[in-house]
């Protein structure tokens, strides 16, 4: 799920961010998924245990809306059509609804891995 990302690098430098944000917005729009009524998080491949679990943890409303968007997009794709302008995803609706859950699950499994690999040292004395 974690593709290499330059987000951190860019957001740390305000001047670079100022340049990149309009470019990123243009790119997201040009990618075309918004014209099918999808959100960026709908494009995350779900064939992994992490994403499957994250999908299970979505609130019922979010999960329902996601399925609706996907089916509508399939329909559009099959009939070689774009959605009418008013039904396309607006940039402000294109927020990360799934990524926080994925990040949480990844943090959980990272912590589990860290704890498994831990080397335990016996303490000499309590902190007083």
């Amino acid at each position: 799920m974690s593709a290499p990302s330059m987000t951190k690098f860019i957001t740390k430098r305000p001047w670079l961010k100022r340049w990149m944000v309009p470019l990123a917005n243009w790119y997201a729009d040009a990618a075309g998924y918004r014209k099918l009524g999808l959100r960026a998080d709908d494009l995350i491949p779900e064939e992994s245990d992490t994403v499957m679990l994250a999908l299970k943890r979505l609130p019922p409303k979010e999960a329902y809306d996601r399925v609706f968007r996907l089916r509508r997009a399939f329909q559009c794709s099959l009939s070689h059509q774009l959605l009418p302008k008013d039904q396309q995803t607006k940039p402000e609706d294109d927020y990360l609804y799934l990524t926080p859950y994925i990040k949480e699950i990844e943090a959980e499994s990272r912590e589990r891995g860290d704890l498994e690999a831990m080397i335990v040292n016996k303490r000499k004395q309590n902190k007083s």
């Binding site: 299970k56 943890r57 609130p59 959980e108 912590e111 589990r112 704890l115 335990v120 309590n126 007083s128």
Partner: protein, 462 residues
């Protein structure tokens, strides 16, 4: 027994500060005097706590909150809160809590009774600060996440419901309570599978309920095998985040006094037979409804044997000798403002039928005065021993003390109980038996209803 005088504590503190080059958390075995039988109590930042400095290398620490099934706002909340103990908090995940506790060699436990929710830990004495902090974190910083509720808590509750379906003993006891007290104390201790809980259990409401349940006046901390001063110090440090008052926009935890109703309930069951005959019993010593004669009557009726190879002196054990396949036992279940004297019979249906008739005959005999003085003496000794033992036992003692602290501000006074039981006269026992028979009984029957008798048939008034 003798509360340690405050000057002794001050003296110890001075002594400690003089020898400040030694780490003050080094394990020291308590002196014989401080290893008292009863708990030393205190209050810090509005949190009541009690400790008993038993000499020994381990400590048992528990937090007793007044949030058992009696006080829950919606079905399953006590159970939900119990299962959410030691789940992930804002500071660390549940996995980390588990692993850290394992590394320290500790045991964590959480359970609830009808009145109390108990979460606690058993650990080595020098780890007291860690576990005091952990309990404080559980109380004020649990995250109550949605996914933990659905993936772990509700799943476990549902499995629990299934196990209870097969348990006729629990079923009969729950039924007896609900018949005797209706709401409040009558709420089932664990919801059965026919109780709709998923429509009530939501993580946000559970979180708000936890703020009410874990508000400072609503819980007490009890420790066994920890020094009083040290416990005071760590509680002062780690419990500043607990709310001082329950949230105002949420219904307050109900404290309506319990009322005894009585009646009969019969439940058909294929997996066993159980019959409970119950009467209003004695409340806890710290409440105002303590009746020592009920404790004596309970051990006089008895039924269960405590001495090997002997049926025991108790009247029911002797009367039900022929019913070898019925197990009879009498208990007084005491709560803060009420009690339930239960005579429970389980085993073969036909034997239970005969035993239940014997129970009523014996109660009539006691109230009629047909009873030997010797038996009363034995019953008094037994009742005294059982009460004192329950108080001295660490597990039950923790809950008793904590509940006493929360409900009336003082831990149960075991010496007082022993004195009250010793003062019970033959007359008082007879009178108690008579009043039980005159009032309404509670009869709960689970099992083969074709054979098991109705209350009317064995001569009880419901």
């Amino acid at each position: 027994m003798v509360p340690r005088a405050s000057f002794a504590r001050a003296a110890r503190r001075t002594l400690r500060s003089q020898c400040s080059h030694t780490p003050n958390n080094r394990r020291t075995l308590a002196s014989a005097k401080s290893a008292g039988y009863s708990y030393e109590t205190g209050e810090v930042n509005g949190i009541k706590f009690a400790s008993r400095d038993i000499p020994g290398p381990t400590t048992q620490l528990a937090l007793v909150a007044r949030a058992g099934t009696r006080f829950q706002l919606f079905p399953g909340f006590a159970e939900g809160l119990e299962k959410f103990a030691f789940k992930s908090t804002h500071k660390r995940s549940s996995l980390r809590i588990t692993r850290e506790a394992e590394l320290l060699g500790a045991e964590l436990f959480a359970y609830h009774s009808r009145e109390n929710l108990v979460i606690g830990a058993k650990f080595l004495r020098e780890d007291l600060p860690y576990f005091t902090e952990l309990l404080g974190e559980v109380v004020s910083k649990t995250r109550f996440t949605r996914h933990e509720l659905h993936e772990e808590v509700i799943r476990v509750i549902k499995l629990n419901q299934k196990s209870i379906l097969a348990n006729t003993d629990q079923m009969a006891l729950n039924s007896a309570h609900s018949v005797a007290f209706h709401r409040g104390l009558g709420t089932a201790l664990h919801p059965t599978s026919s109780v709709p809980i998923t429509q009530y259990l939501h993580e946000q409401e559970l979180a708000t309920f936890s703020q009410a349940a874990y508000a400072k006046p609503n819980f007490a901390i009890v420790a066994n095998g920890a020094s009083h001063d040290e416990l005071e110090r760590w509680i002062g440090e780690f419990y500043s985040d607990s709310p001082a008052t329950p949230p105002s926009d949420f219904p307050a935890i109900e404290t309506k006094p319990s009322k005894y109703y009585g009646g009969e309930e019969r439940i058909a069951h294929d997996g066993g037979n159980n019959m409970i005959i119950a009467f209003p019993g004695s409340g806890a010593y710290t409440g105002g409804h303590y009746k020592p004669e009920i404790a004596v009557l309970s051990s006089l009726l008895g039924g269960q044997s405590y001495i090997k190879w002997s049926p025991g002196f108790s009247l029911l054990a002797r009367a039900c000798k022929a019913q070898t396949q019925a197990h009879v036992s009498t208990r007084n279940l005491s709560y803060s403002d009420a009690g339930l004297l239960t005579i429970s019979m389980e085993g073969k249906a036909s034997h239970i039928r005969e035993a239940s008739q014997a129970v009523v005959e014996i109660l009539k005999a006691i109230s009629g005065g047909d009873i030997e003085k010797d038996d009363i003496q034995k019953a008094i000794a037994k009742a005294k021993f059982r009460t004192l033992e329950a108080g001295q036992n660490i597990g039950t003692g923790l809950e008793l003390t904590g509940a006493g602290l929360v409900q009336s501000g003082k831990p149960s006074n075991l010496d007082g109980i022993a004195e009250a039981i010793e003062g019970v006269t033959e007359d008082a026992v007879k009178k108690a038996a008579k009043s039980l028979l005159e009032g309404k009984a509670t009869v709960s029957t689970v099992g083969d209803l074709f054979v098991l008798p109705f209350a009317e048939e064995i001569g009880l008034h419901v």
